[in-house]
């Protein structure tokens, strides 16, 4: 049984320096997520829930809460539809304890 968890509440404890307007991860081709990908594993594997499955079957990405783990890029092995870079120097997650 899966438990419903509010990830936003967890992420709220973290410190970020968001690089506004310059997401370091992008979905290369949204139509592949909507039409070709059945599993959409990113929508439940991303530990920060950055990927959301919308009602119309598309997948949207917001990188603001990203923990920079790299999982989304690696699990998208079939379609390789994630363009993934680290944020620009100094931006992104800033762990206080790590």
């Amino acid at each position: 049984m899966s438990i419903a968890v509010n990830v936003e509440e967890k992420l709220f404890q973290n410190r970020y320096k968001v690089d506004h307007g310059r997401p370091h991860i992008q979905i290369k081709d949204a139509s592949i997520c909507a039409n070709d990908c059945r599993g959409r594993a990113c929508t439940y594997i991303c530990p920060a829930a950055c990927y959301k499955l919308e009602g119309n079957g598309t997948v949207t990405l917001s990188t603001d809460g990203c923990l920079e783990c790299g999982s989304c890029r690696i699990i998208c092995s079939e379609h390789a539809n994630v363009s993934w870079e680290y944020p620009r120097g100094g931006h992104g997650i800033l762990f206080k304890f790590g």
């Binding site: 049984m1 899966s2 438990i3 419903a4 968890v5 990830v7 967890k10 992420l11 404890q13 973290n14 320096k17 599993g39 594993a41 439940y44 594997i45 991303c46 530990p47 920060a48 829930a49 923990l67 920079e68 783990c69 790299g70 999982s71 890029r73 690696i74 699990i75 092995s77 390789a80 870079e85 680290y86 944020p87 620009r88 120097g89 100094g90 992104g92 997650i93 800033l94 762990f95 206080k96 304890f97 790590g98």
Partner: protein
């Protein structure tokens, strides 16, 4: 004139700091580049520090390193949904200095280590992401940073850029990481007054406990949970093989859902009750072992730490392998430099020989079949935890049934679940994978 260094180290985690420190200490001109605001701000670990690997670099580290608690007790728990069967090892020998291992908080520890690196003479620049390596044909000659005029050059580049190994991957030194070769772990730090940590874990000031957990908490995926005691906080986390989240996870459980379930487990909940969560982290751990280690040297480059897949998953060791490979890479470069040799693949091959001959590759070799065996045999994470807990419950519950009948019932449950041949074959597989 462009500025040139003897060595550039990319990353300021344990492997990068070990490399940069050793190089700078030997008098080489070292540039270290870190993408975080400060060293440690991008780094995540359980975290246990193993003294031996650090002693070989900074023998008197205990004088000022930020250490949380030295470990005097190791608990291993096998859990089903309601119970656990555990083995605990606690020894007063672990209370005699020098202590063997400590819990640490990486953001603080990495900052301290980095300070040592700078005192040794290395130049550190933070808030700078290396975009890719600069090549001259097959040879790495420097790095391009995301700063204006961000090209810097060196005789050799040490890649300590972490598990995603972005730079070597972009340069084509190895392929994309495979989902079966990394574990995705999530964890939280939970604050609790020092006295409460000590009372709940039955330890005195500065003494600590490690709990490693295995069983139904990972819902059939290959993985483990952990709970570590820090000074006035606890670290709790859980990690599973990334590919399993995709392929062996019919409920589509998110990693944070597993963590939440672990926190609510009746064996865990009382230990963390009332603690205040102050950070939530996620990180990949390279757990592919021996066969997943890529090529670790070439013309003008060396790979160290997580970037090279140097983690002994069976023993939950990583930072010590990171520091050791970082040190060995540095020693290779120092020796080549003093011999006046070029930093060619042929020269740097000595690094691989040293790593092969150290405990790093010896241990990875010992457990080389383990990832595959665990991958193909889910019963170690599903059936066995249930059977073991059922057996304990049957044996220890006094209900009027005679002990012979109880034992028969337990044997029957094992046979029904795994069959006699299955049980023997499982034992053989585990023995073969760990001998």
């Amino acid at each position: 004139m462009r500025e040139k260094f003897d060595a550039i180290v990319v990353g300021a985690g344990p492997s990068g700091n070990a490399a940069a420190y050793t190089l700078a200490k030997a008098g080489l001109k070292v540039l270290q580049i870190e993408r975080g605001e400060y060293p440690g701000s991008k780094n995540v670990q359980g975290a246990i520090l193993y003294s031996d690997a650090l002693e070989k670099i900074i023998p008197d580290f205990r004088e000022d390193a930020p250490l949380e608690r030295h470990i005097i007790e190791q608990r291993m728990w096998v859990l089903d949904n309601e119970s656990f069967v555990g083995s605990h090892f606690r020894s007063d020998n672990y209370n005699k200095p020098p202590f063997n291992r400590y819990t640490i908080l990486r953001a603080q520890f990495d900052k301290w280590f980095s300070q040592k690196v700078r005192e040794a003479g290395a130049l550190l620049i933070c808030e700078t992401t290396v975009e890719h390596l600069l090549m001259d044909g097959e040879r790495v000659v420097g790095v391009r940073c995301d700063r204006e005029g961000g090209d810097v050059f060196a005789d050799v580049v040490v890649l300590a850029d972490g598990v995603n190994s972005t730079l070597a991957r972009k340069a084509g030194f190895h392929d994309e990481i495979r989902g079966k070769n990394v574990a995705l772990a999530v964890k939280e730090i939970l604050f609790l007054p020092e006295e409460m940590v000590q009372a709940r874990f039955n330890v005195k000031e500065d003494e600590g406990v490690v709990i490693e957990m295995l069983g139904k908490i990972t819902e059939g995926m290959v993985g483990t949970g952990f709970l570590y005691t820090n000074k006035d906080s606890l670290t709790i986390g859980i990690g599973c093989i990334l590919e399993d989240f995709k392929n062996k996870n019919p409920n589509r459980s998110a990693p944070y859902a597993l963590l939440e379930k672990l926190k609510r487990h009746p064996a865990v909940a009382p230990l963390i009750e009332g603690a205040e969560m102050k950070e939530y982290c996620a990180h990949l751990i390279p757990e592919g072992g021996f066969f997943a280690v890529p090529k670790i040297y070439g013309d003008g480059w060396l790979i160290v730490g997580d970037s090279g897949g140097f983690v002994n998953a069976a023993h939950r060791e990583g930072s010590n392998l990171a520091m050791t490979t970082g040190r060995l890479a540095a020693e290779t470069v120092i020796e080549a430099k003093s011999a006046g040799k070029p930093m060619s693949a042929q020269t740097l091959k000595a690094y691989k020989t040293m790593v092969d001959e150290s405990f790093v590759m010896k241990d990875l070799h010992k457990y080389r079949h383990l990832p595959e065996v665990l991958h193909q045999n889910n019963q170690f994470f599903t059936a066995y935890p249930e059977l073991v807990n059922h057996a304990a419950k049957t044996l220890f519950t006094v209900d009027g049934a005679d002990k012979h009948s109880k034992e028969r019932e337990i044997r029957g449950s094992f046979r029904a679940s795994r069959s006699l041949v299955g049980l023997m074959s499982d034992a053989y597989k585990l023995w073969r994978a760990t001998r």
